[in-house]
Amino acid sequence: MQVTEKKHAQEAHDDHGHGHELAHHFVSVEQQHDAGNLGMWMFLTTEVLFFGGLFAAYTIYRYKFEKVFEQASNILDPMLGAINTIVLIFSSVTMAFAVRSAQQGKSKAIVAWLGATIVFGGLFLGIKYFEWKHDAQLHVFPTSDFNWTWAREKHSEGEHGGHGHDSHGPELKGYIFNSPVVPANYVESDARNPEAKQAKLFFFLYFSMTSLHALHMVIGFGVMAVIMAYAWNGYYTANYYVPVESIGLYWHFVDLVWIFLFPLLYLLGAHLGAGH
């Protein structure tokens, strides 16, 4: 190890043709790589605690309002959650291959694998969009539009094949995704029911966590686009690929967050089955 470090330091000083491969304040490309890698992990540590705060809030409210949290979770579709989990894991595989291509110094392959990662990440967000749209129809957005009575009724109708007709006549449109306006008697029913507030809290956590997760993905797309442009121009070599490896770590971290969100949000109420 020491011998190779010396050898590389020697090479770097002898041959300035290495260009950006080795910054002057590093002894060797290994040291430079390990420092960059460590820095990215330090950033991910802050991310763990960032999401950790939301997981802590979820844990406390779920402990306090266990029954309603299970019923609220049952509104979500575990099938779509599972499909999205596999889509996101697949985008992690393509990302792993992007980093592998960087290790091999194959610039064009980095571009192709990162492109595939963006495509499957985009598929994940597309499925999420349709879920959120459905959530708006059920009035579970934690705004003044929220209605637990409506959500439970419409959800059990949907499970029993009640799609396609709406007995309440949606003449008026709400402000999120044109969802039908909730009739006044539903609003009164919710006002009398303390469980409605607890369910609203579950959906507040659900939307906070999934939208913060989605925001991380969108930021990841932006960084990937920049790295693709650099890779296309042959900026990364087998000796210098820390940026590719760092976006890889970031993307796998986003995958990790989802691996925990899936059981906590989608599977919590799955045992209640249809129509609850």
Partner: protein, 110 residues
């Protein structure tokens, strides 16, 4: 000269397959009513999946001891956050919202 010899491609596909199988397993076990065991089972599977991602996709299996220390520290700090917050909430008797049993005890009342 390459900094790190790249991993064999099949290890990534094998990891993907294992993660898919675990996703299906956690979904199937969640549909069964395991009672008090359901959360430990779901979180146990999630931890195994997370470990596969961290060790093989994030290459922690072959990372430097310093990187491993930073990861251990992040898990430790997360444990501190959750444990101390939870011991506080579990040992105090105040409510931040109307209690869950309020509705069950007196339905239809304010």
């Amino acid at each position: 000269m390459s900094l790190h010899p790249p991993a064999k491609a099949w290890t990534y596909w094998a990891n993907f397959l294992a993660l898919c199988v675990l996703t299906v397993v956690t979904w199937l076990t969640a549909r069964m009513d395991l009672g008090a065991l359901s959360t430990p089972v779901a979180l146990g599977i999630a931890v195994i999946k997370a470990a596969l991602v961290v060790l093989f996709f994030m290459h922690v299996w072959e990372s430097t001891p310093l990187t491993k220390l930073v990861i251990a520290m992040s898990l430790f700090m997360l444990t501190v956050l959750l444990t101390f917050m939870f011991t506080d909430y579990m040992t105090r008797n105040y409510d931040v919202l109307p209690p869950a049993d309020h509705a069950a005890a007196a339905p239809g009342k304010h």
